[in-house]
């Protein structure tokens, strides 16, 4: 490790879940609420110690419904807040995730995915909940979700998650899995002056009964509780001032569109994708999270064999990088989708490719087991 005079630089050998917790702390998280669940519990273990050291709060709630309710309440109390769980916990949280969306509450929700449905296989890594945060709560809405593939990315992406949550007043998800959460690797902490943090826009003074605190596509200022701002917050359909109106379809239309556009209008700022060896590629492999590690290895091997293959990886999985994939589909002949499930993102890739390129799904031989390099390589050779 090279020495440095800049403060706070360190590298540690960390478990993915611990890296996530440390990333949250760097991002300024002051409130963690959670309920024990494999394979996410280490995040809670770590936060139960670290939050109090940082003048923050940790609470082990009575269930996951309370955990999400607690972090939303804490966010209105003015602090950055997060919870961490696995699929069964997200299933319980979904109703209140909708409330976080509609009340435009910044918060971070970590899903260290395990085998499902139901109790499933708690320690097996699975990408089975990819659609759950985007479509699981009722109604029409947009959220942001990021898929890390390593402890370093658990750290880095958790900081990004807090930043996007603050900037867009929206719940942001980390979609990890049991292996990414439990593996241990070197994690480099940023120098103090490298850390860029976004903070929510706050309402400064009370602007009257019809103050505009919601439904701005460029994000309305948030009236933090306890400052005399007379915040009027409801999960019911409301207008810009927060007043409920559940009888006028025009108001519901306005609310749904503005909430969605708040995210979709800023896709360029929100969506992060990583492209490798795509300049001359005939085949692109689409993968994310843990699977990306196997894909990147394979692409490197394929390139060394002279095969024109590249990797397309969404770091932001929601909102879905539709335009980027459409562009990709005009450059390559074939897109091979690799994901550790039976094809959850595949239909979205296919729709985005819109017939420009052939899109095929290469299912894993065994769900929950990593792809073998030759499985992917054979498919590449088959389609090239």
């Amino acid at each position: 490790m090279k020495s440095s005079v800049r403060k706070e630089h360190k590298a540690e050998f960390l478990q993915g879940n611990i890296a996530c917790a440390e990333g949250a702390i760097v991002a300024g998280c002051k409130f963690f609420a959670g309920y024990p669940i494999t394979p996410a519990s280490e995040i809670a273990h770590h936060m139960s110690k670290r939050m109090f050291e940082k003048d923050g709060t940790f609470i082990q709630t009575e269930d996951e419904i309370a955990a999400i309710a607690n972090i939303i309440g804490a966010s209105w109390g003015g602090v950055k807040s997060m919870t961490a769980t696995s699929g069964p916990g997200i299933s319980l949280m979904l109703e209140n995730i909708g409330l976080a969306v509609v009340t435009e509450t910044p918060c971070v929700i970590v899903n260290v995915q395990r085998g499902g449905p139901s109790t499933g296989s708690p320690t097996i890594a699975f990408q089975g909940d990819m659609l759950q945060p985007k479509f699981g709560s009722h109604g029409e809405y947009q959220i942001i979700a990021l898929a890390p593939s390593s402890p370093q990315e658990m750290f880095d992406f958790t900081i990004i998650a807090f930043n996007k949550a603050e900037k867009y007043r929206v719940p942001v998800f980390i979609l990890a899995d049991a292996l990414v959460g439990h593996m241990r690797e070197r994690v480099d902490f940023p120098f103090e002056d490298e850390i860029i943090l976004d903070e929510r826009k706050k309402l400064e003074t009370y602007q009257g009964i019809h103050q505009k605190i919601f439904l701005d596509e460029n994000v309305a200022p948030m009236p933090i509780f306890g400052k005399g701002l007379k915040a009027n917050i409801t999960g019911s359909t409301h207008k810009e001032d927060g007043f409920r109106n559940v009888s006028d379809p025009q108001i519901m239309d306005n609310a749904i569109r503005k909430l969605s556009n708040k995210i979709l209008k800023h896709k360029d700022d929100i969506i992060i994708v990583e492209e490798k060896y795509l300049e001359d590629a005939e085949v692109a492999i689409f993968s994310y999270g843990l699977v990306y590690r196997a894909v990147l290895e394979t692409v490197n091997t394929a390139r060394s064999e002279g095969l024109k293959v590249g990797s397309f990886r969404p770091i932001t999985v929601w909102p879905f990088p539709q335009e980027q994939i459409e562009e990709l589909s005009k450059k390559v002949k074939t897109i091979v989708v690799c994901e550790n499930n039976l094809g959850q993102m595949y239909p979205f890739v296919k729709a985005a490719a819109n017939g420009n390129a052939k899109v095929i799904f290469l299912p894993p031989k065994i769900l929950g087991a990593l792809y073998k390099q030759e499985e992917i390589l054979n498919k590449i050779k088959e389609v090239i």
């Binding site: 002051k30 409130f31 609420a33 110690k49 109090f52 050291e53 003048d55 709060t57 609470i59 709630t61 009575e62 269930d63 419904i65 309370a66 309710a69 607690n70 972090i71 939303i72 309440g73 804490a74 966010s75 209105w76 109390g77 003015g78 602090v79 807040s81 109703e95 209140n96 409330l99 009964i209 009236p223 509780f225 306890g226 400052k227 005399g228 701002l229 007379k230 915040a231 009027n232 917050i233 409801t234 999960g235 019911s236 927060g242 007043f243 409920r244």
Partner: protein, 277 residues
């Protein structure tokens, strides 16, 4: 020029919007009791935050009270309020919940908040029915009552919410009916000043949905008179037999415990200890 007299509690309302409760509903009495308590305590309304859930009780503060209001999902108001209170412990957080909110869908949050002795005040409007959704049986509905989902009469025993909160560890508990509005106000004052989890159960009339169950449809006056006749103060009840107390409503300040550690204080202590290590 005409002389107009302003209602002494008008300053606590946002204005412009009218209440949506049914004629004869107990919500108005409870709203007044809360606001009179705050007015008499002479604490700035800006120091209060109200959290409410789904059900008619949610409309007591939301959106009418002119301070911070968080109107959330059914049954979860206590859990949201817990996060808010922990993040902003200087706030006085009051939850307006219903009996369904508190003991059906939200029962778990309710007992755990009581166990933690977090400094919240839950004012539970117990009308012994699901009013807003059309008069279905609640966990508080008396045995054998005919409701829209118990056409043959309820076969389940009701919860005693005050006793439930006491068993779970609430450190201030009072029960009144809407007939005893002034006593209710006095207990709300005590609850607001109490450092710890306080629970106030208000037996309240729902003349539209519960009125028809007890043959007093749209007759809130008869329901209030019934509360008057059935109410027995805890001081008197202590000397009465179980038989004498059958079908009575025991009212008064039921529990007041001091010196039980409160959650936000405990967290402050942990922060000091964590930094010393």
């Amino acid at each position: 020029m005409k002389n107009t007299v302003e209602h002494p509690l008008k300053k606590y309302f946002r204005g412009e919007i009218n209440y949506t409760t049914c004629p004869g509903c107990g919500n108005g009495i409870i709203s007044q009791s809360i606001l009179r308590a705050i007015d008499e305590l002479n604490i700035s309304f800006d120091q209060f935050a109200f959290v409410s859930g789904i059900g008619c009780s949610g409309w007591i503060p939301s959106p009418y009270f002119n301070t911070d209001i968080l109107h959330v999902t059914h049954g979860r108001s206590v859990a949201f309020a817990t996060g808010l209170k922990l993040a902003a412990p200087q706030l006085k957080v009051i939850i307006c919940a219903g009996d369904g909110d508190t003991s059906a869908i939200g029962g778990n949050h309710f007992i755990h908040a009581a166990r933690r002795n977090i400094d919240l005040t839950v004012i539970c409007v117990n009308n012994e029915i699901f009013g807003m959704t059309g008069g279905q049986v609640a966990p508080t509905t008396p045995y054998s009552s005919k409701t829209t989902t118990t056409p043959y009469g309820s076969i389940e025993r009701p919860f005693d919410l005050s006793n439930l909160s006491i068993a779970a560890g609430a450190t201030f508990v009072a029960r009144w009916t809407t007939y005893q509005a002034r006593s209710l106000k006095n207990s709300i004052k005590k609850a607001i000043e109490h450092k710890g989890f306080s629970f106030i159960e208000v037996i309240s009339q729902c003349p539209v949905q519960y009125g028809k169950v007890v043959g007093m449809r749209n007759d809130s006056v008869s329901m209030l008179m019934h509360y008057k006749e059935c109410s027995v103060n805890i001081r008197k009840a202590k000397n009465m037999s179980e038989d004498e107390l059958k079908d009575k409503i025991i009212v008064g300040d039921l529990v007041e415990k001091k010196n039980v550690p409160e959650l936000t204080d405990e967290i402050k202590r942990l922060r000091r200890e964590a930094k010393r290590k």
